[in-house]
């Protein structure tokens, strides 16, 4: 069986649950070098802002959401480092943490349209600007999620001359549980049938606005993973979306939320994705959980284990 390679990573800025590493320009520059050496060729900003915290000095969000001005323009830095390392950069939209999460999808769309315009104006000239990431993650066809994806994805394309649009949904499995509890499992999980029905509708509704889908692989029991990935791949294929896997490099089974995953688990998940015919993986995310300079030394060992596997 063909091996699947990790060719991309999220950049967890703004993080809302992983403690920050406090890197400056020098450390970020080194980290992109580590990424490149592992075979990473694309980076995805998980979100450009969350509530009041931003990655770039947005006039729109400062004025309309009273967001704080960041100490450093990370979008500018990440684009510069992407150019330098010949990587593709995907820009993650703003997550208000209040509009769409309380059912108000219209204002989530409204504010993000302005962000899209502002960002394209500020950074669209960069040769590394490859596409967009819709940062509102979902697991079911709930609320107006189809409208949100279709409208924002479509607007990204309109503004940017058709740049690619990526989403990274998850599965409503036994490990879909708040990170703000020390529990690791719930007793309820979506059935494969219901998951199929939900995503049949979602993919159909967004197929003109979204090009790429990378399902998160950490929310179901390991033994259930393969069949969920196969359903996801099949439905994506039917609707013309290209599939990657989002292989999580942190461990959801431990009381400490979150430290790097055990290599055996990551290996298991990569093989499950390869079996479903997926050819490339993104990971969430390199800098905390796989980097040799991570504050978690387990990450550097995971990097070595992955490289041994890749080169074996």
């Amino acid at each position: 069986m063909r091996k699947i390679n990790i060719t991309g990573t999220f950049l967890d800025e703004i993080s809302h649950d992983i403690p920050h590493q406090n890197w400056g320009k020098k450390e970020w520059s080194q980290d992109f070098t580590h990424m490149k050496q592992m075979g990473i060729k694309r980076v995805v900003l998980i979100r450009c802002g969350y509530k009041k915290w931003l990655t770039y000095p947005s006039q729109v969000l400062h004025k309309q959401e009273k967001a704080f001005t960041p100490y450093l323009d990370l979008v500018s830095l990440f684009l510069e480092l992407s150019e330098k390392n010949q990587m593709e950069f995907y820009f993650g939209l703003y997550d208000s943490g209040r509009y769409w999460t309380s059912g108000n999808y219209k204002d989530e769309i409204r504010i993000n349209k302005k962000v899209i315009e502002e960002v394209w104006e500020l950074y669209g000239h960069s040769s590394a600007f490859k596409g967009w990431y819709l940062s509102q993650e979902t697991n079911r066809n709930a609320g107006a999620i189809i409208d949100l994806y279709a409208e924002l994805g479509g607007y990204c394309k309109t503004i940017s001359g058709g740049k690619q649009v990526l989403i990274s949904p998850y599965i409503d499995g036994v490990k879909n549980i708040s990170q703000y509890t020390q529990q690791t499992e719930t007793t309820t999980s979506i059935s494969l049938d219901q998951h199929f029905k939900d995503w049949e509708e979602i993919f159909f509704g967004i197929k003109n606005a979204v090009d790429l889908v990378a399902f998160q692989d950490g929310h179901v029991a390991f033994e259930e993973l393969a069949e969920f990935i196969q359903v996801n791949k099949q439905l994506a294929d039917q609707n013309g979306l290209h599939s990657w896997i989002n292989t999580e490099s942190f461990d959801r089974d431990m009381p400490i939320k979150f430290l790097p995953i055990k290599w055996d688990k990551m290996h298991f998940k990569l093989e499950a994705a390869a079996q479903a015919g997926i050819q490339e993986a993104l990971t969430f995310e390199f800098s905390h959980f796989m980097s040799p300079q991570s504050a978690y030394p387990q990450a550097g060992h995971l990097y070595q284990r992955y490289l041994e596997y890749k080169n074996s």
Copy 2:
């Protein structure tokens, strides 16, 4: 606007919620050197003992509270290192963890008066012994907290010939939540008006016994912080107490309790304190959350980010 500098740190011994670093004399000596290089000129022992664990071999607490004898006399070590590095040392009183927390303020006062006598006898000769820290933290005018502060602060002064007395209260904000839950926010918060009323009474009641106040800056939403600090500063000024800020260097917004704070957040909080006219900051605390030799490598990066800011 004038920048505010971090000129002091707590020493988290005895810790009751931050895992221990297991440093010996050599590591503590190095850490004081790191502190000095960052501009720190005063250290505050957070408490000399908590329940049965002690920082110094107290006969009083061994006999009356059945406390355990510590492996190393940390008070002696910290005074020696303070002298060597020309730093001011503040001694934190004993926290029984049972008398005052169950409403029995009299026994908290009784046992601490004996501690004050013993400590002054043992360590009062040190040229670094600058003052006292009342380790019983409060956020409201509840229980007999005014009596506790007034009586213990007064007794410290009487015994030591008027040495300075410091307190570090907190605000009963949305992040005032037990560290023994993985939640990060509660739904209730004190109003600014009620906070004003409580602290108007407290400051008035303790003004002859307490000289210095350093409010903790981590319990309210970031956007609310500036106005709370301004109220605190105003009320302290009215009653003749000098204000520092206690800028927390750990992150209260994350499921892992606790790792170093994101620099952007610390920067935001320092600016809020500077706007209120505060000129110096203590931090809780350097050795875990800002030290280049911390077990959390994020701390060393925070140290670098702070130095870049300070020297910019």
Copy 3:
């Protein structure tokens, strides 16, 4: 008073609550060297498998429990490193995480008998294979725990020509609380009398099948520990079991579950065991919590503190 030395450690594979360090052969080899330098002469595999995750490629567990094949044969590696470092290796049985925990002790025994046969066939030839560890931990005489220990211990001896059998129970004290909560204490604790009665029965029932007992020392309040250890030692002596202590090197009192313990606490616990006449300690466990190459740098400092004590 004689000092007690740490002469053994558990190997936390398969872990079910401590995040993995992702070590390969090189890192494990280095760690055994670190162990040896600290005086460790025996290692105990905590369990050979937990639910679907295994330490060795077991045909039995793959077929009957649908367990996953491990990336690396850790049992083989640990035996090789034990031989190289003249250490004794104890093999921990399989923990189904479902049979015995739901009252079905018969199937836990059934599957483990096959594991014992398979393991002895695969690894029994190793000169380092010193004995067995019954991985089903208990604190009370509940369920059919006596049957489980007696039958599995007896079977280990029968198959292996009488190799030693070890258990490591715990005490149902105030810190016997799920690791999947951030609380650190419960309000109920077993009485010393009830503990005595339970273990009088258990030891009597297993004395022909179990040779060694190492009680965990972390579940009761520090001030209660000495008397519990004395009861344990006395009852073990009466029934001809040899006692070690299992001194936990992680801290149960902190919101982060789990980081290395404060040296003062470990020192306190070692002294309590020495007072009861115990001569050697195992620790749970060296590689995360005491190793100079642990991902938690506090562990390396604990290593230094222990060595200073041992050599003082």
